[in-house]
Structures are given as structure tokens and as C-alpha cells.
Symmetry: C2
Subunit: 329 residues, 2 copies
């Protein structure tokens, strides 16, 4: 990078802060958030861990925003803005940083958010990967935030959208598995550009008893919710919503149960997994329709602990991989 940090911020990043009154055009080290009650979340993304080094960098930028927006969505929060941290690899050129900023600009407009501040620096170690950090803040829903620790025995368990597509997209990018040519692009798109369920999350603020966004994988995040709430979650494997490409991939697998377990173990779905008492079924349906988001009832909350996947015969499906864990290898 031949441009100075100052020039980069002034030329490329400051325009992204023009709608943030308290960002001082990024000419200051600190930003001012107007008075309010804020929900805050922070997610890191590292090349080779959370995205592929060859992923288009504008999509990487947008994914960084969207994985954080997904956390806010699960809380029912309305996103306001974010702070950005970038550590660029040694040989990053200005064009790449501009393309990155273009991705940010695009999604800022789409989600009505602004850049409030941050920090940018460069690695000195040659192979050190692009490392990104975003701290997002949003305003709490009037009904109060949706917790993840308040699932109660007897509640229904729901998930939005479809599960496993992003993981299949990653497989396709890595040339693992077999896919119809026409199925690859939509799966890869799900991996590279998740859709945070902000409208559904907001609509669920009065409805859901607990919610979490599915980032580590359906089973792993169900595990987080079960642990936080002190309950057991039973998931009906046949009820897990699958896209047409995922159903086609599944149909070609010899061990269907294992393959279904794999889909439920993949990460990067960025759907919302939530619970609600049975008397709220109509309200859930209204929230789904109002937010134009598909919602599937996939199981129920029981006394106990852990997560189980149940097949059509009522038997437990043994699952090998329970989500991606950065600290196990």
C-alpha cells in the first residue's frame, strides 16, 4: 500500500461516514453516539477462516456487515451504524481497498446504516491474512430485546429460511462434493452474501421467547440456546427447511441421515432460530408474513439439556459435527 493511512481514510472511508452526524467525518479518534439505549455486537472475520482469500473483496465487506447485522436481527434491534477495523495484508493495493469500500457503501445504503469510526493498519508479516472487525450498534425494540436464554419447556422451535446452503456453497467453492451446474451459483451466493433477517427479528420482538442467529450451524447455535436457557431442544430432522439445491444434493447422498446432520452442522446460514409458546403460533405466522420471510416449525423445547435431531421414526440421529469451532483442530 503506497497511500498513507490518512489519505485512505479521507479519500475512501470518510465518504462512508457522511450520514453519521457524530462521526466527525472520521477526522477524529472518537465518535459521538446520540443519546439512546443501544444493542452492540462485534464479529471478527479472518481470511482463510471466515471467508476465502479469493472471495470478491466487495462481497467480503458486505458479509462483514451482514454477519453483524444478523446478530442485531436476532435481538430485534434496528441497526444504526458501525465501527470498522481493518488489518490489510502486506501487498494490498488501493484498488482492492476501494472495491472493499464500494461493498460497504452498497450495503450501507441497503440497510440504512453509516460508518461511525474505526482503525486501519497493515500487517508486516508477509503471509498474514486480511483481518476484519466490526462493532455494530442498533437501537433496542420497544418490546425489549429478544434474549437467547429464555426458551421454556413446551415452547415450539422455529427457524427462518433454509439451512445448509452456505455450507454447500463453501463445498462448491472448494470443489468438494457434486452439484448440478445450475445449483452452484445460488449456494455460493448464500455463502458469500448472507441475508440478515432484520425485518423478521423486529417482528418477533413481541412474539419469540428466545432467539439466536444461526452462524456456527443450526445444531451448534441450538446448543448455545439450550445451554443459555437450561433446556433441551428436539429438532425434527424432516422439518428442517431445505432449498431445492440442498434437497437435490441430499437426494444424491448414500447416507441421508448423516447428510442431513451435515447440513444442520454447517455454519454461515445467518437465519434466525427462535422459540415461542404454542399459543403464539398465529403471531409467528403473522410476523413471518409481515416480514415476507419463510419460517418453519422444526421442533420443540423440553426439560433437560443438549440438542437432538430426531428422524421420522422418532429415533435420535447421531451427529458427528456439531458446528464449526475455531479452537478445535
Amino acid at each position: 500500500v503506497s497511500d498513507s493511512e490518512f489519505d485512505l481514510i479521507r479519500d475512501i472511508f470518510a465518504p462512508l461516514a457522511s450520514d453519521a452526524p457524530g462521526a466527525f467525518n472520521l477526522a477524529d479518534d472518537a465518535a459521538l453516539l446520540e443519546a439512546g439505549e443501544y444493542i452492540v455486537t462485534k464479529d471478527l472475520m479472518v481470511a482463510g477462516v471466515h471467508f476465502l482469500p479469493k472471495d470478491p473483496i466487495d462481497l467480503v465487506a458486505r458479509k462483514l456487515l451482514r454477519v453483524n447485522l444478523s446478530d442485531l436481527a436476532a435481538k430485534g434491534a434496528r441497526p444504526v451504524g458501525y465501527f470498522l477495523g481493518c488489518v490489510w495484508p502486506v501487498k494490498t493495493n488501493r484498488a482492492a481497498i476501494e472495491q472493499f469500500a464500494e461493498g460497504l457503501r452498497e450495503d450501507q445504503a441497503l440497510f440504512n446504516i453509516a460508518l461511525y469510526g474505526g482503525d486501519t493498519t497493515a500487517h508486516r508479516v508477509k503471509s498474514a491474512p486480511l483481518t476484519l472487525s466490526a462493532t455494530f450498534f442498533g437501537t433496542a425494540p420497544r418490546a425489549g430485546v429478544t434474549a437467547r436464554a429464555s426458551a421454556r419447556p413446551g415452547d415450539d422451535l422455529y427457524v427462518s429460511g433454509t439451512i445448509g446452503d452456505a455450507g454447500l456453497g463453501l463445498m462448491a467453492l472448494r470443489r468438494e462434493g457434486k452439484f448440478l451446474a445450475a445449483d452452484k451459483a445460488p449456494l455460493i451466493h448464500r455463502y458469500q452474501l448472507p441475508s440478515p433477517r432484520l425485518k423478521l427479528g423486529a417482528a418477533l420482538a413481541n412474539v419469540a421467547s428466545a432467539a439466536i442467529d444461526v452462524s456456527d450451524g443450526l445444531l451448534a447455535d441450538a446448543g448455545h440456546m439450550a445451554r443459555a436457557s437450561g433446556v433441551r431442544l428436539e429438532i425434527d430432522a424432516g422439518a428442517i427447511p431445505l432449498s431445492a439445491p440442498a434437497r437435490r444434493w441430499l437426494a444424491a447422498q448414500s447416507d441421508r441421515d448423516a447428510a442431513l446432520g451435515a447440513l444442520a452442522g454447517f455454519g454461515d446460514d445467518y437465519e434466525i432460530l427462535f422459540t415461542a409458546p404454542p399459543e403464539m403460533r398465529r403471531s409467528v405466522s403473522v410476523a413471518a408474513k409481515a416480514s415476507r420471510t419463510d419460517v418453519s416449525r422444526i421442533g420443540s423445547v423440553r426439560r433437560g439439556e443438549g440438542v437432538v435431531l430426531i428422524d421420522a421414526g422418532g429415533d435420535e440421529i447421531a451427529v458427528e459435527q456439531a458446528g464449526y469451532d475455531h479452537f478445535e483442530s
Copy 2:
């Protein structure tokens, strides 16, 4: 790292969040900040760029907090808490992470702040360095935040503490230059563990016309202030406050002006550089005494642009290095 991310958070990081009511014990992806007007700042630190890979990791943790606290200090803000991002090198062991958390704990108690949330992950590339991110938030002073863009021609220019010690400490760690044996430890201490000037910053909220913390170096940060305010800053080289070890190092240099320029070019001081109208001199003195912080008047604000270092004869000292820039090499 053999421990799972979840265990790390529960065992090591969650206790750091016990005083943060909205942190949900770090069992959630998001935290709730109680209603208020917040000042927010974010600083990254990368091993080999902002600290040495061999620096004690508890001091690295404390430096991460302190460089961010220094940004809040320059605004006159009262720190409340922070969000933490850690990308650990491939072979990090649990003991190192525990030592890191112990540093956080120590400074959290000292500065009365709490951990509110964050994200932790691990590199997959072997040589990739420890990469840290912190997003800090504090409450604004009643008098309003101190801007960096409001220095006015005619104002006096001040700096707290002493300048250049941290840069000399870094030289000593790198075995560059010659130091008295007794001088090394205090200089290295200044590099590894800066002292954010929170009390002074708060006391200046009604007094200073503009303020910035000295992180990139006295000359570089004066340049940032000059640019933001649209003024020229003249610094009296002889008035730059130096510690006894720095004065001894300076006395041993053949080119005193160049050496003084180097001290003013080093980074990592984490002092406050600020301006105030001449009629506020008594108020500045009161703020310094009330906060038990040394403050030196080192120059003045003029019409024009840029920063100049003036020698005893009134001539401009040519300065080679104007602060560290991560994007020039």
C-alpha cells in the same frame, strides 16, 4: 489452542464481564448499553506492528485498553466499558490467554471499566500474528466533548507529561542506541504500559479549545490537529517536556536538533496535546493540578497550515520523520 471457543469465553472472559449488567455474562452475541450519550473509539493492535511479539502478554492486554482509554481521555470522556476482538496465533496456549485476561482484569479494576462483549477466533496461517481490536465507549463530559478541529489562531499549545520516552523504550528493546542501564526500565515501561490521561482530559473539558492524544508522535498528531482545525502549529523545541532519561539520551547525541526532532517524531506517548486561549492559562494550571498531571506550554496556534518545530534562535528545525504511518514503507 485445545480449548473450545465456548470454554475460553465462559472460563476466562465471562468473569471480566460480571460488572457489566448488559453483557449477559457473554452468553449472548450482543450486549445492551443503558440509555446514554456515548463517545466511542476503536483501536487495533497487531503483534510486530504496535507491540513486540515478545512483550509480556498481560502488558499487551493492558496497552490495548490504555491506547483506547487515551482516545477517550482526549475527548474528556469517562470510560464505561469495551468490546474485545482477539485473533490468536496458531499455537497459542491457554496459559497465555489466561495471562492476557489477567492483564485485562487488572486494568479493568484500575480504570473502573468492564468487558461488554466481543469475539475470539484463531488464525490458521502459521506465522499470522496476534491481532487485537477494542471498541471502547464512555460517557460525554457535561461541558461537551473536546474536539480536535477547534484550535484557533492565538491559542496556546500544551502537552501533558513527557515526550519521546516510549520511542526510546522501543529502541532499547530493539537494542538500538545507547542508554544508561538504569534508564532502560523506565523507558521500556513507557512503551509497554502507557498512562492514559483520563483525569486531565476530564478537567480540560471546559478549558481546552481542542485536544488530541499523542499516539502517532507529537509532530504527527500536531499535524492531525492542524489539518482538522485549519491552522498552523508552532512548537518551541526547547519547551518540549523531556524525562530525565530522555534528556540524558539527548545529551549524548551529536546532532541535538535532529535528536529532538526524532523524540518529537516517535509514537506511543499517549499524552494529551491541547490548545486553549491565553486567557485560560490559569484554568489550564488548575486542571493540571487537580488531575496531578504535569502540563507544559510548548507553542502556539497561528494562521496557516502544518506544524513547525522552532529552535532557540527562532529558526525552523527540519524534521525528517513525521510520525509513524502504517501505510508508508
